[in-house]
């Protein structure tokens, strides 16, 4: 049982949990956090699959992809949060 197997399966489990949350959560904020969990799990599978047994260095290409993915995910999160704030102000604004 190598590191790649352990963390790869953990990443898949996180992805599955996140998927369940995205589909099932009622609260918008919670759904967004679940989507972030999904992204983390997917990134973990990528990093785990680029791992090589110790003397060899890991594959740098998936690492670069994951770094790109992290930044894209924080952008998506920020846009989603802006939409959540806007929706909330529309819902609570009774004068409009």
């Amino acid at each position: 049982m190598t590191e790649a197997t352990i963390y790869g399966l953990a990443g898949l489990a996180v992805f599955g949990l996140g998927l369940m949350g995205v589909l099932g959560a009622a609260d918008r904020l919670r759904r967004l956090v679940a989507l972030n969990l999904c992204a983390g799990g997917a990134a973990m599978v990528l990093v785990a699959s680029s791992w090589r047994p110790p003397p060899a260095a890991p594959d740098p290409v998936p690492h670069a992809l994951v770094i790109t993915g992290i930044v894209v995910m924080v952008s998506a999160t920020a846009v989603a949060l802006a939409l959540i704030r806007r929706l909330y102000s529309l819902e609570t604004d009774t004068d409009a």
């Binding site: 049982m1 190598t2 590191e3 790649a4 197997t5 963390y7 399966l9 953990a10 489990a13 996180v14 992805f15 599955g16 949990l17 996140g18 998927l19 369940m20 589909l23 099932g24 959560a25 009622a26 609260d27 904020l29 919670r30 956090v33 972030n36 969990l37 983390g40 799990g41 973990m44 990093v47 699959s49 680029s50 791992w51 090589r52 060899a56 890991p58 594959d59 740098p60 290409v61 998936p62 690492h63 670069a64 994951v66 770094i67 790109t68 992290i70 930044v71 894209v72 924080v74 952008s75 998506a76 920020a78 846009v79 802006a82 939409l83 959540i84 704030r85 806007r86 909330y88 102000s89």
Partner: protein, 319 residues
């Protein structure tokens, strides 16, 4: 060896456990805190998988700044306070049957992916041999930086464009939205900010410079500088004002602009875009990285602040 194996198993189990806890927490504040801790532990796992660049990026951006963004929105939804007494609307959960079907489908999809992952050939060479062959021409000695800014520079350019698009959308969506000023954090925090922020700026510059030969680079440096700006906003050493808007717009665009101009310049000199001449490669990569760092830092800080800076009277923010 067995100690490390036990550590790996324990860490993997806590990562999965924290992911589950994040979804099960009743209170939204506790949920976000669990999510931040989850990001920290995941970064620890990535350090175990010999991916220090990714671990740094996850800690700074995935856990740190995402957490700050989530907490800021929660404070907005709860009218300026993070405690649960405010009226955060909790809509009714979906009905039981739908929930069950969703969970079943998600579980099936995960099991299928797990089988695919276990069945996939392990430890077969990926692209690392190609990367190692091309390293002498890349201008840098750290493989991840070479991939990000040379071999797959198109991806990175698009990523900077995504950040730019995000800040444009956020400024549009937030236009005219009521502002919840961040709470005053007091003099102890301001003293801490005065000591720590200059040092953090130096740490960000160091990360940018060291990225050519060791883990680090534009994204990690940009995240650290973005965090400096967020802490500065919280300490009220930095007050966004309408006069800052042109400066902010310039900072958002400069990374994309310089990146694209370098690509066009290289293409104009009879080469393929991003095929830097080896003699100038390091200079060009450092130039792009420095500009991208500025853009990332400014964009992340703007995403935290939310709406475009508007005129707010001092007395109002000092409340």
């Amino acid at each position: 060896m067995t100690v490390l194996l036990a550590f790996d198993l324990l860490l993997a189990a806590s990562i999965v456990g924290l992911a589950a806890a994040t979804l099960l927490m009743r209170d939204a504040f506790a949920m976000i805190v669990a999510f931040i801790v989850f990001g920290m532990l995941m970064a620890l796992g990535w350090a175990r998988l010999v991916a220090p660049d990714v671990a740094l990026a996850e800690v700074a951006i995935g856990a740190g700044l995402s957490g700050a963004l989530l907490l800021r929105t929660l404070a907005h939804l709860r009218g300026g306070s993070l405690s649960a007494q405010g009226g955060a609307s909790v809509s009714a959960p979906a009905n039981g049957a739908t929930q069950g079907v969703n969970a079943l489908l998600a579980g099936l999809a995960t099991c299928a992916l797990g089988l695919a992952y276990l069945g996939a050939p392990q430890n077969v060479p990926g692209l690392e041999a190609h990367v190692a062959d091309a390293m002498p021409e890349s201008g840098v000695t750290h493989p991840v930086t070479a991939v990000l800014l040379n071999f797959r520079a198109y991806d990175t350019l698009m990523e900077v464009v995504v950040l730019l698009a995000a800040v444009i959308v956020v400024w549009q969506v937030e236009r005219g939205l009521a502002e919840t000023p961040a709470p005053a954090l007091g003099t102890v925090y301001q003293g801490f900010a005065r000591v720590a922020l200059p040092v953090a700026v130096i740490a960000g510059g160091y990360l940018l410079w060291i990225g050519a030969e060791a883990p680090g680079g534009a994204f990690q440096a940009g995240a650290v500088l973005g965090a400096v700006a967020v802490l500065g906003l919280l300490s009220r050493h930095v007050r966004p004002a309408p006069a800052h808007r042109p400066l902010a717009r310039g900072a958002f665009v400069v990374g994309t602009a310089v990146f694209a101009l370098v690509a066009l310049g290289v293409a104009g000199a009879g080469r393929v875009a991003f095929e830097y001449p080896p003699a100038q490669a390091k200079t060009l990569i450092l130039l792009i990285e420095a500009m991208v760092t500025i853009s990332i830092a400014a964009t992340l800080a703007a995403l935290f602040h939310g709406r475009a800076p508007v005129a707010v009277s001092r007395e109002e923010t000092d409340r």
